[in-house]
């Protein structure tokens, strides 16, 4: 039992730390890279990392864990619902993440469209040069 638990614990903490590290790198990219396309890539990586972080926080480590879908046959639950809730992972972060993923996609499409228009109008994607343009 001991070694297995230790391994799972370290893996979980490492996942959280990796999520924090990716978030830091992607925010650095958004702030410091002048190219608009790189900014968009970094921002979408940041969004996905935030989603991964939310799902990790809803995870439940246990000898027996289960998805938040109650096994049923017809309309009869096959398990004791209250007992099942005590081994299931958290459905709330999953529900929030699944809408966030689709909205991320739409917002990324909006940013890409804006960037295409900026390129057509100014002929450049360097934010430092776009800042200096007038008109």
């Amino acid at each position: 039992m001991g070694a297995e638990v230790l391994y799972a614990n370290l893996l979980y903490i490492a996942s959280l730390a990796v999520a924090a590290a990716i978030a830091a790198v992607s925010l650095y990219g958004v702030a410091r890279k002048p190219n608009m396309v790189k900014k968009i890539i970094m921002l979408s990586i940041f969004g996905d990392t935030a989603n991964m972080f939310a799902v990790l926080l809803g995870y439940r480590m246990a000898p027996r864990n289960a998805p938040p879908v109650i096994p049923v046959k017809g309309t009869e639950p096959l398990v004791n619902v209250t007992e099942y809730a005590s081994i299931a992972v958290d459905p709330l972060p999953q529900a929030l993440v699944l809408t966030a993923v689709v909205i991320n996609l739409a917002v990324t499409a909006l940013m890409v469209a804006l960037t295409i228009q900026i390129y057509r109008l100014y002929g450049t994607l360097e934010s430092t040069r776009i800042n200096r343009l007038r008109g």
Partner: protein
């Protein structure tokens, strides 16, 4: 200079977060006696335990999306369609382009076209299955819609934009479908207020099953031998078509030929 300061602050925040995580879980983790995350929030457990009774669906995630936290999803749908409308309005006036070069020779080779026909058919079937079983198995309108969005993207690449426009796949048609589905979502969300007013009972926005304080169910939670989840099915199907159509419209305007875009932006009453 300001950007460098911002980057430094963000990096410091990430380090603090990492220290917080390791300190919070570290001691428990190294003892190896119990799992550091063997619990979830009580709210999550309540949702799983109550899903069948409150919503009429064994799938707790879909129950949260369209019932327990239905208002969240309603406004997230609003954010989503605002972003899509923003994209479309950036390209307004360009959607009439792209018919040139249509016909049998447009697009990629015959092999790619044949494979794409099969794949697009499969994508539509699978995404419809994801959306329609949303109240029983993992899946739902958002997931199915995101899967469906791949189909127009593939078709545009393989057949060319002109071929699709020639066969009647137009932005106006797609946008009409999308608007219809969003209207259905809004009407079903608001209809409990009207029903409650007409029948003199207490009801609330996005109500699904009967509650002790709001005694009328909008739609049945069960039919013969399957879960229906009440309004879950309606919301899932409407959101599925709306998300798929919205992305199809976005991909169609993003694939407008460059010459046509520059033509519109250069004058003619549109663009700048």
């Amino acid at each position: 200079m300001r950007a460098r300061l911002l980057a430094a602050i963000l990096a410091a925040l990430a380090v603090i977060l990492a220290i917080y995580i390791v300190a919070g879980y570290g001691l428990v983790a190294l003892s190896g006696e119990r799992y550091v995350k063997d619990w979830i929030s009580g709210l999550g457990e309540k949702y799983v335990a109550g899903s069948i009774k409150d919503v009429g669906s064994p799938e707790a995630v879909t129950s949260i999306v369209w019932d327990y936290r239905g208002l969240d999803t309603l406004f997230e749908t609003g954010v989503f369609f605002l972003a899509v409308i923003g994209t479309l309005s950036l390209f307004r006036g360009m959607e009439r382009g792209g018919e040139r070069g249509a016909g049998k020779d447009a697009g990629m080779s015959l092999i790619v076209k044949t494979v794409t026909r099969i794949t697009v058919f499969l994508i539509v079937v699978v995404s419809a299955s994801i959306a329609l079983h949303g109240q029983i198995t993992p899946g739902g309108g958002f997931q199915g819609g995101a899967a469906l969005a791949v189909a127009p993207l593939l078709a545009i690449v393989a057949f060319g934009r002109g071929a699709l426009v020639e066969r009647g796949v137009r932005e106006t048609l797609i946008l009409g479908l999308r608007s219809l589905m969003v209207t259905i979502i809004a009407l079903v969300a608001l209809s409990p207020l009207l029903i409650g007013y007409l029948r003199g009972a207490e009801m609330y926005i996005m109500q699904n099953q009967a509650k002790p304080w709001a005694p009328i169910s909008l739609l049945p939670g069960y039919a013969a031998d399957t879960f229906l989840g009440g309004t879950l099915v309606v919301f899932n199907v409407a959101e599925f078509i709306a998300v798929g159509a919205a992305f199809a419209a976005v991909f169609l305007v993003l694939s407008v030929p460059e010459e046509r875009a520059r033509e519109v932006m250069g004058g003619g009453g549109h663009g700048r």
